[in-house]
């Protein structure tokens, strides 16, 4: 199972080592990790996507909460929060395939940010599903380089109290 953790930590030197070290030490698998400032300069948000057995996923949250610099840990399900990832990908694009590739990029709302005689570099963002679908769509042309930010996430504001996520 995959689980998204949104972790608010004190903006301290070494805090990322503590969080990442916990995953290594206890044998949890990180699929992606993204960290950045929040509206409060003393607090950093780290978003981690982890893979594990169901009981392990709760254990991860409990262990994270024990870390001194961790203020808050949320286990996020997809329909409770907006999740986004930014991806940059250079696609092999010989002149004959170029317009086809750009058309496909448009369909995904991806931007062309660089072009050479035989490549097109695209910038795209979206939730996990969209990023996967997009990369699959371009796989056939050949992706020569790729960089992904890892997922970031914010809970939806204004959820009614009695709202229950669809499992």
């Amino acid at each position: 199972m995959r689980q998204v953790y949104s972790i608010l930590v004190n903006n301290h030197a070494g805090v990322l080592s503590h969080v990442a070290g916990l995953f290594t030490r206890r044998g949890y698998n990180i699929e992606s990790i993204a960290a950045g400032p929040t509206e409060d300069a003393t607090i950093t948000r780290i978003v981690i996507v982890a893979i594990g057995e169901e009981n392990e996923l709760d254990q991860i949250a409990k262990q994270l909460r024990k870390l001194y610099d961790v203020r808050e840990v949320e286990q996020i399900s997809y329909n409770q929060a907006v999740t986004r990832e930014l991806v940059l990908a250079t696609i092999k694009a010989p002149i004959t395939k170029r317009s086809e590739i750009i058309q496909l990029a448009n369909a995904f709302g991806a931007q062309v940010i660089n072009m050479t005689d035989d490549t097109v570099t695209l910038e795209a963002s979206g939730n996990d599903h969209k990023v996967r679908t997009l990369l699959k769509a371009f796989e056939g042309y050949g992706i020569s380089q790729m960089a992904r930010t890892g997922m970031i996430s914010l809970p939806y504001d204004g959820m009614p109290d009695d709202w229950e996520p669809i499992a």
Binding site: S17, L67, Y68
Partner: protein
């Protein structure tokens, strides 16, 4: 007033009531050491930093108080890592203060530089690299708080040399506003959980209590005794929980698990309610989890939420301090009727006692039995790790908490001697006995020099079988007697070594001399090493093989002339 960084830290340590240091100076910590001297701060100079850490560990386990460990940068600090890991596994509060190269040199591979902050992350509860003299007051207080509250543990302050001498304005303050959010509060007593447990106790027919280190650390022994006596529920103590319940009490079932008593393991297999009070379901206790307490409703009281459901699924989880929970339980007890159960476990105790053969050689269990007899369970007992540790856990009958000092979670060979020295500093009025193996003892025996220098009258009984005995036992049982590198045929003369350190040393080869030599040691005014050349092939029984369930326990091979 204006003070330098070292002085500020020392002021804060003193204000918190810390009054003991163990350590070794070196280049990057010299300014701090200079101030320790000027402040007349009590300090024990050890021979190895690992020894300093284990001394502070033994001191903390026996006194409940925290000591500081002081080392220099680089190798001085990396030598601490085993000691910190040991304390982390057994939740022992320690404060390590390590010198670090000056801040402008950090990251340049300077002389005696090591990334001690990075190295110590996985082996401490928390750690700090102090980069600003103005942080010292807050950070020192936070360090003490973190080490000693909630589930205790070791912390480390990495202290660069330039910050040690930088001067800053210092105002002693009753409370310092933490730059960090207040510690997460433990929730109020979980009354729902407690009520569920009370109902389960009322309904149960075969309940059993397992008391862990949480009993000792929260000071819950009296409440536990009250609880057990009011209900008649028998008590098992884990390795680190020993001393939490009187070893001579009829309700006591001994230790569970791999080398536990037969009756403790039978009780775990047959109980219908397991009340876990502050134990963490270690793999040496549970054996194969799928066959652990198969018939029981499991209740688990723990101060650390992450321990609940970590290895064993819990039906009644109660997050909280064990003592607080027990006080509330005791106020509302509604015990059921466990007469039939009592008959069952009483019979087990009578029919499956701990025992050993008697063949004229010095049996290690016999030596421990004799130590038990002459101290009547009123000493402080310290061990290394291995067979001797298991025999001590089985054969000593503890009267009080905080009289048993052993390395449980990490299983650190070499823990014994320095921990015993630390324990004696904490409780000088108590007789401190170290029961050690020759393998364990040899790892840190250099601290005999510390015992001699400060005349710390610890009594050391080495159960010397010239083997890494537990390894030898496993090789005999599980590796078809291929004794791969577990034998020390050329063991040194430990009696003579002791004498060389200025410590009384006696080699004992005759079983008839055991009692005499122990009495001589007890009466001697100073440290003593008794080197008992014991039976080399003795094994620890009962045994649950690694990976097997507690229901697959093997009892001792048939005895010739049982003595227990």
């Amino acid at each position: 007033m204006e003070l330098n960084g070292s002085q500020i830290m020392i002021e804060e340590l003193k204000a918190a009531g810390i009054e003991m240091a163990f350590g070794i100076p070196g280049g990057a910590i010299m300014p701090f050491y200079d101030e320790l001297l000027k402040a007349d701060f009590p300090h024990i100079l050890t021979r190895h930093e690992q020894g300093a850490a284990h001394m502070a560990d033994g001191y903390a386990r026996v006194s409940g108080k925290v000591a500081i460990i002081v080392t220099t940068s680089g190798p001085g600090a990396t030598n601490l890592i085993t000691g910190l890991a040991n304390a982390q596994m057994d939740s022992v509060p320690l404060i390590a203060i390590t010198g670090q190269v000056a801040t402008n040199m950090i990251g340049t591979d300077a002389f005696q530089e090591a990334d001690v902050y990075g190295c110590s992350i996985p082996v401490t509860k928390f750690n700090w690299l102090i980069k600003d003299v103005n942080e010292i007051q807050n950070v020192t207080r936070e360090a003490i708080r973190v080490a000693t509250t909630g589930r205790p543990g070791p912390v480390l302050l990495d202290f660069p040399k330039d910050i040690q001498i930088t001067r800053a304005e210092y105002t002693p303050r009753e409370s310092v506003e933490s730059p960090l959010p207040a510690p997460r509060q433990y929730p109020e007593l979980d009354m729902d959980g407690i009520e569920k447990l009370l109902e389960a106790i009322e309904r149960a027919e075969r309940p059993v209590i397992i008391g862990g280190a949480g009993i000792i650390k929260s000071g819950a022994s009296e409440e536990l005794a009250k609880f057990a006596k009011a209900t008649g529920i028998p008590v098992i103590n884990t390795l680190l929980g020993l001393g939490g319940f009187p070893g001579t009490d009829e309700l006591f079932l001994g230790m569970p698990g791999m080398h536990g008593t037969a009756y403790a393991n039978f009780a775990l297999c047959e109980c219908d309610l397991l009340i876990n009070l502050g134990a963490r379901f270690d793999d040496r206790v549970t054996g194969k989890v799928s066959s652990f307490c198969p018939k029981a409703t499991i209740a688990h009281v723990d101060i650390d939420d992450a321990e609940i459901d970590k290895r064993v699924h819990t039906h009644i989880p109660i997050l909280g301090n064990v003592r607080d929970v027990l006080i509330t339980l005791n106020e509302r007890l509604r015990p059921g009727d466990y007469d039939e159960w009592r008959q069952t476990w009483t019979d087990w105790k009578a029919n499956y006692p701990l025992q050993y053969d008697w063949d004229g050689s010095i049996k290690p269990q016999y030596v421990i039995d004799q130590i038990q007899e002459i101290t009547e369970g009123n000493g402080i007992y310290v061990t290394g790790v291995g067979q001797h540790q298991m025999w001590a856990a089985q054969f000593i009958r503890f009267n009080e908490p905080k009289t048993w000092v052993t390395s449980g979670g990490l299983g650190t060979m070499g823990f014994g001697l320095p921990a015993a020295i630390g324990a004696k500093f904490a409780r000088p009025e108590k007789d401190v006995w170290l029961i050690d193996g020759d393998g364990s003892f040899a790892m840190t025996l250099v601290e005999l020099a510390t015992a001699a220098t400060y005349n710390v009258p610890v009594k050391v009984a080495i159960l010397n079988n010239a083997y890494l005995g537990m390894v030898r036992q496993w090789q005999e049982l599980f590796f078809e007697k291929r004794y791969s590198h577990s034998h020390y045929p050329e063991n040194p003369d430990f009696g003579m070594i002791a004498e060389g350190y200025g410590v009384k040393g006696i080699n004992v080869t005759d079983v008839n001399e055991v009692r005499n030599s122990l009495e001589t040691a007890a009466e001697h005014d100073g440290p003593v090493v008794l080197n008992f050349l014991v039976n080399k092939e003795e094994n620890v029984w009962p045994m649950v093989p690694a990976g097997a369930g507690n229901d697959e326990m093997q009892l001792a091979p048939p005895s010739r002339e049982a003595r227990s």
